[in-house]
């Protein structure tokens, strides 16, 4: 990686049991590097959301340790950790409360003690970024679902945390909304933010993400670049992950000896080129492409 590889979040031997007795995390170890975009994937109940809730102190370890920029999460309050780790929740409706969109975004800045003129600049910047400045005097409840989602992202970006955690950013979003979120992630990358997202969307992941951590039953099975992790059939089966479409397709072609592993492609156009070559070489009666 070209970026500086300093660790911003360190998870050491993390165990977490919910008050009802459910053991959600069983010995998780993970390092999150500065500037990377990391996706955490796995079936529902694998522990993904439980894990990320440890990153800003919402949950505290039953055993083990979580360090955020060197700070032990047990030693700081959620509000304090949130200055460093901005958390965008899946459901915007759980947090909207202000009279106006402006006030909604200003809330965090006020809590963190920024002076008023700085707040004004930051709010304007964040709302413009998310294309919501025109709604600044409207009630947050009057926005559409997609706009509400962008509002929660704006509320977090406004106070410029170093690390941004997103819980299922594309869930329930239509195609255009997903494109907007793609743009936002790219933007965050350009701003050199560290991004951690929990998601089910494999297609989204292959386009935007540096590393993928696959979880199942409270453990991390594997961490690595999506090209490696999402092609591993054993891993996919164990974690009950649905692979990206073209990988699924390539795996079937491999079983029929039409492709080999080196020829897996993520993009439709590149894969088409490979397949054309293979199909053409046969039609001409020449040696098969494999």
């Amino acid at each position: 990686m070209q970026r500086e590889e300093s660790v911003v979040i360190q998870v050491r031997d993390l165990y977490y049991t919910y008050p009802g007795g459910v053991e959600a995390l069983r010995g998780v170890n993970l390092e999150v590097y500065q500037g990377e975009v990391l996706a955490i994937m796995g079936e529902n109940g694998a522990g993904k959301t439980t894990l990320i809730k440890h990153f800003n102190g919402i949950l505290r370890p039953t055993r083990g340790q979580v360090l955020v920029k060197g700070i032990d999460t047990r030693q700081a309050s959620v509000a304090e950790l949130s200055k460093i780790v901005g958390f965008v929740f899946q459901n915007p409706d759980h947090q909207l409360f202000a009279d106006t969109v402006y006030e909604e975004v200003a809330f965090a800045l006020r809590n963190f003690g920024y002076p008023e003129h700085v707040i004004e600049n930051r709010v304007r910047w964040a709302l413009n970024l998310m294309d919501l400045w025109k709604y600044r005097s409207k009630s947050p409840f009057s926005l559409s679902e997609g706009e509400k989602k962008r509002l929660t992202i704006a509320s977090v970006l406004a106070y410029d945390p170093e690390i941004i955690v997103l819980d299922e950013p594309t869930a329930g979003q239509d195609y255009l909304q997903k494109e907007k979120i793609s743009e936002t992630i790219n933007l965050l990358r350009l701003m050199n933010k560290t991004v951690v997202m929990v998601t089910h969307d494999v297609e989204f992941v292959t386009e935007h993400v540096d590393r993928v951590a696959v979880m199942t039953k409270g453990r991390i099975l594997a961490v690595g670049p999506p090209q490696r992790v999402l092609c591993d059939t054993q891993l996919l089966r164990e974690s009950r992950l649905v692979p990206p479409q073209l990988i699924k397709l390539s795996l079937i072609l491999r079983r029929h000896n039409i492709l080999n592993e080196q020829e897996y492609e993520w993009r439709a156009d590149k894969l088409a080129l490979k397949l054309v070559k293979i199909l053409e070489s046969d039609t001409n009666g020449g040696p098969s492409g494999i």
Binding site: G172, Q173, Q177, E203, Q245, L249, H256, V276
Partner: protein, 271 residues
């Protein structure tokens, strides 16, 4: 909604898609009378569902014929036992106790809820909850099943299993299913027909493979189908039955085999 024309037959699995706010949820709620009764508003035109006009019949009269499954299972499971939940709709229909009992037992078996019969929905996983919601509605033996983003809170693996269940029911019981979903890769393989709505209007209606190709700028693209298009541009046209990676892969395998066979024949018979 504006100027909407749609006819649905028994046994169809219609995937209804469109950007947020396009009117698909509104449309769905006309089918059992929630519009106009629960939501108010003005409904004009000809509407007939199971032979009834929603303007002239209250929602509870549609319950026997139209089953509606909502997005969030939490808000459509009202009791603290699975068994009770299944019986609820049937009690509302006024069925005799023996009939209720028979249907509940059958549903517990068919939807794999038998071991969970005493559990509270709180103790069930998201997938189990949604299965229960579907079962509670199907137990009333509707002719139409409407599902408004039924898999929104589920992971893709579970989502596909739920939709496969719905598909099976459309085949077994000739139920017409109308499914609203955003994730094409999850839902499209099960659909017999795809309808796209934009701005309150229906802009496309037809075979899923074709509609997706025409509407990608609205509904997004399926990588497997993109591949088919690229191959077609290079001169290799494939016949794809269903828009799933498995079907596309198998079409490619078929094409490959055919071409190898032709090549072998050419080599062995030059004259």
């Amino acid at each position: 909604m504006r100027d909407v024309h749609l006819e649905v037959d028994a046994g169809e699995f219609i995937l209804l898609v469109g950007p947020s706010g396009c009117g698909k949820s509104t449309f769905a709620r006309v089918l059992n009378g929630l519009i106009p009764h629960f939501y108010g508003g003005e409904l004009t035109g000809e509407v007939e569902v199971c032979g009834m006009d929603p303007r002239e019949h209250p929602t509870y009269e549609f319950a026997e014929c139209v089953g509606f499954v909502f997005q969030n299972p939490e808000n459509q499971l009202f009791f603290t036992s699975v068994e009770r939940e299944l019986a609820f709709g049937l009690e509302n229909l006024g069925l005799p106790r023996e009939e209720i009992s028979r249907r509940v037992e059958q549903a517990l078996r068919e939807y794999q809820l038998a071991e969970l019969r005493d559990r509270s929905p709180y103790e069930l996983s998201g997938g189990q909850q949604q299965r229960l919601a579907i079962a509670s509605v199907m137990v009333m033996q509707p002719k139409v099943l409407v599902l408004d983003e039924p898999t929104a809170n589920l992971d893709p693996f579970t989502a596909m299993r739920i939709l496969a269940l719905v598909r099976r029911k459309t085949l077994e019981e000739r139920v017409a299913a109308i499914v609203i979903e955003h994730r094409l890769e999850v839902a499209l393989p099960f659909a017999t027909r795809m309808v796209v709505m934009v701005g309150g209007r229906i802009v496309d209606d037809g075979r899923p493979v074709e509609v997706v190709a025409r509407q990608k700028h609205v509904v997004g693209r399926l990588h497997a189908l993109e591949l088919v298009e690229h191959l077609a541009q290079a001169g290799f046209s494939l016949e794809v039955e269903k828009p799933s990676p498995e079907h596309v892969a198998l079409s490619i395998v078929k094409a490959y085999r055919v071409s190898r066979l032709a090549a072998r024949r050419k080599r062995s018979d030059p004259g």
